[in-house]
């Protein structure tokens, strides 16, 4: 019986390990660094933005709420940019042509990055679309917002204000 109990323990451990390994960015942990190609050419690296409050928005053109919040995000960016705030829009589509053509009609001035192989979305463990990650001035993930419904932009603004003050 003792060996059976040991076997049970070993099996439980072995089978639960993959679940533990899949743990992604969580509030309080350091934000996984990335460097992605931007819409205006060039590259944006998260580590270079240390000292700024960074809001990372994962979006796609096939995602309705993402399209809905895009103009509001642009407003947030222009409002809080002077306080040491950067908004990064990470497009998760394998083909970024749709995003480029859709953005032509949008008043978006913040950097749009192309995560064509979904590596960054994977490293942040994006669990819904859109997902918005708030990174503080020390490079720590502070808050992850899943989805968007009208009114959520007020939550975004509250979060930005509290992080900018730190």
């Amino acid at each position: 019986m003792n060996t059976a109990r040991q076997m049970l323990l070993a099996c439980t451990l072995a089978l639960s390990l993959p679940g533990l390994a899949a743990a992604a960015a969580a509030p309080g942990s350091a934000a996984p660094d990335f460097a992605l190609a931007a819409r205006d050419g060039g590259k944006v690296r998260l580590a270079d933005l240390k000292g700024q409050v960074v809001m990372i928005n994962f979006w796609a053109t096939w995602c309705g709420p993402c399209r809905q919040e895009m103009p509001l995000l642009a407003q947030l960016n222009t409002k809080y940019e002077p306080l040491g705030f950067t908004l990064l829009g990470v497009n998760v589509e394998p083909d970024s042509a749709a995003a480029v053509s859709w953005l032509k009609g949008m008043p978006v001035t913040f950097p749009i990055l192309f995560d064509t192989d979904s590596a960054v979305a994977g490293s942040f463990g994006v669990e819904g679309m859109p997902s918005t990650v708030f990174v503080d001035r020390k490079g720590q993930v502070r808050y992850i917002h899943r989805g968007y419904k009208p009114g959520d932009e007020a939550k975004y603004a509250d979060m930005i204000r509290s992080l900018v003050k730190e």
Binding site: L15, G19, A22, V126
Partner: protein, 76 residues
């Protein structure tokens, strides 16, 4: 012999109990564009499919619940 059976039972039980805990959607939320791929559609050609559904309904003497339009009221 009993010991072996018990071990196998125990192993399968543990596998069953813990394996389910890690099942997630295989397509991640940020990969959902793959659902819109043409290979994901059950009917590639809607016109041909509608015709075949019509033939099927005529042959079976019943309609509805095949994905074609009409609610099964017999009035269309």
């Amino acid at each position: 012999m009993y010991k072996a059976i018990r071990l196998v039972l125990l192993l399968s039980l543990t596998a069953g109990a813990t394996g389910c805990a890690n099942v997630e959607p295989w397509v991640k939320p940020y990969e959902r564009q793959y659902f819109a791929d043409i290979v994901m559609s059950a009917e590639r050609d809607p016109v041909a499919a509608a015709y075949l559904n019509h033939v099927f309904e005529a042959r079976e003497g019943a309609r509805g619940a095949t994905g074609s339009h009409g609610g099964g009221c017999g009035c269309n």
